[in-house]
């Protein structure tokens, strides 16, 4: 039983971290242009 009290919050926490990461990426516009993001990786100019 004691193990569960540790493990369940960990499991749920990890899930929530994933969910929030997804939420953040959605708000951040990362799903606005799926084709574009796939292509941008091919740009190889190093100007910063």
């Amino acid at each position: 039983m004691n193990h569960l009290l540790v493990l369940i919050p960990i499991a749920l926490g990890l899930g929530l971290v994933g969910l929030f990461a997804f939420y953040w990426s959605l708000k951040n516009g990362q799903y606005d242009d799926l084709d574009g993001s796939a292509s941008r990786i091919l740009e190889d100019d190093d100007e910063v």
């Binding site: 959605l26 606005d32 990786i41």
Partner: protein, 769 residues
Amino acid sequence: MNCCATQIAQDLHENTPSKFANSPEEQDFRASSNVLEDGSTQSELIIPNMHCAACISKIEKSLGAIPYVISVRANLSLRRVNIIWDSKIGKGTKFAKELSNLGFESFLSQDEDQATKLLAIESKKLLLALAVSGFAAANIMLLSVSVWSGAQDETAKLFHLISGLIAVPAVAIGGRPFFISALKALLAKRLNMDVPISLAVLLALGMGLYETFTSGQEAYFDACVMLLFFLLIGRYLDHLMRLKARNSVESLSKITTKGGILLDEKGGTSYISLDDIKVGQCLRVYPGERFPVDGTISSGASDLDRSLVTGEGISVRAEVGDSVEAGVLNLTGSIDFVTTSNAKTSFTAEIKNMISAAENGRSRYVRIAERAASIYAPAVHLLALIAFVSWMVITNGDWKSSIYIAIAVLIITCPCALGLAVPVVHVIGASRLLKEGIIMRDGSAFERMSEIDSIAFDKTGTLTNGALKLQNTQLPNDKISKIISALSSQSSHPIAASLNAGFSAFSNAKLVNIREISGLGVEARHNGKLVRLGRPNWVFEISNQTVDLEPNTNVAFCESGNAIYQFSLVDTLRVDAKNTIDHFKSKSINSAIISGDRAFLVKKIADELEISNFSSQMLPADKINFLNKLQSAGSKVLMVGDGLNDAPALASAHVSMAPASASEVGRLASDFVFTRPSLMTVAFTWSVAVATKKLIQQNFAIAIIYNCIAVPLAMFGYVTPLIAAVAMSSSSILVVANSLRLNFSKFDGGQIISTTSSMEQSKRKEVVT
């Protein structure tokens, strides 16, 4: 980016603030831009042929290099570029110029875009709901597995409690689309599929919470969240497909006339927007522009291309006193005309009114999922009620277990498989179509397409290519051909362009004093001799010979004092037109031609295609009447057309298709748009539609069989949360797997479309090299 650098320098040089917003194009541009809070301007351009990483970086770099641009972001999926710039120190039209220097065509995004944006926001919300319910379903399932495998007492209670804590917010977020839709339906006193879904989810959640707090053993948290997850997948797919279709169609659209050039009494010109045009004003239309409203020509003469408006294939001569319709393209000379209508009463507006009237009729079409829901939803509610009442009787009023069983019935019958069955099939079907260059605008189009029993074709631009082709097989000798090639390259008239294409094998001879005479042709001097290319009678004037005009001649050439050459250019049949008509004949679907063109031209095409049912010189209203007559006799008609004059018919037909070359209004009024030259795409679309219908029926059959097994189990009280979970997911997986078969089916004409389009491509390559 050296090429741009010099241009920017020039541009900076001419940047005097006073002249920024005075040209009509610039005002158009600014009218469709938004001013942001910080005073900068945001504009969006559609760039249809942006399709790779190199395009993105080229566009972003060159636009970003313009000094008054604050930020640029290209979106490849939407084929758009978003530009934030300072409108006080620069011109917006510069962007389009810059893009065309790079070889990209660009259009301003139009008002209809707002709908697309709303759709995009909506699908983002759905994606979030999907993610939340997916997370919840996975975690609750893990906890449920331990309950099912024997966790008891306090452990089970704890697990239920945690599941409940996850389920409540998940249902609140994930169930929102369903609750809203169900509420809307109920307020309108209807029942849709979302009503039993919402009821099942909410009851299951409520029962689960009650069980948890009374230390019960059975909680349906997993079922209700999983239900939402599966249904949201279907809903999201459906949304994504619509968004993609809208985008593809819109990125085809060209700038429509938003205004015109107004002439005042003193002869000065100024820009006037379409809405401000009044009856009786004098407006000027330059060659290459379309008339904004109807009117009567007051000065000037020109050739007009009325093909999109009336369906006439050949351009017509217009002079002072002739009336013109909005949307007609002015080809050769500049024309002043007096308006006889404003934007609300013009020909285009009239057509748009007819379209919206026709679309009202079509919106009454009930989609198959809704038809299923109208039987399914009451049946489910009735079953649950029967279960509740009979268990109350059997158990002598044990309301608690009676309610449990009723809820179990609701959950187990929930249309998971049905919710997935239709969207998955439609998405796969749409992707098959897209591979052949066919864009579908709406999922219900498949259902309507599969029901057709006759087809009405427009002639110009649909059965034919809408472009003239040189018929002469014997070309004049090299010397003459080179002159013709040079002369024809000097005019923007469609006949000249088609003639030029026929002489593409020849280089251009050197000409001097080249002059285009509006309505007659082009003349020039070659080695001191006058040469003319154009209207036969005008060309004959400089010849010393007298020849008879051959019957099909529409253009002639003569070198002063020498022989006359006559050429015949006709509109040719679209690729595979005959095959397509024959194919449909073999499937006992009848074809008819309804055209706005003159009778003898229509008859010629009809004879060639062996179509006995044809009508000519039809006005838009006649076309609608033709379709209505067929449709009121119970026939379901597919309309294939391209013109503005076809648009009302496209909207009123049971289902409609338009080529990508169609008028914007025509494209927006049709269900499918095809981008490949072959007419066989029509047959292909039809056979895909028939296949999707078959698959959807199969999926419904699977769902019904599943219910035949599951419902009795639930009614007799044998269903536990475990059985519900297994049954629901297995039926969904079965339906999806069945739908995926569509990816491997073969369809009529698919082969032909691919081969002809690759032939076209190789031909084009030959021309280039």
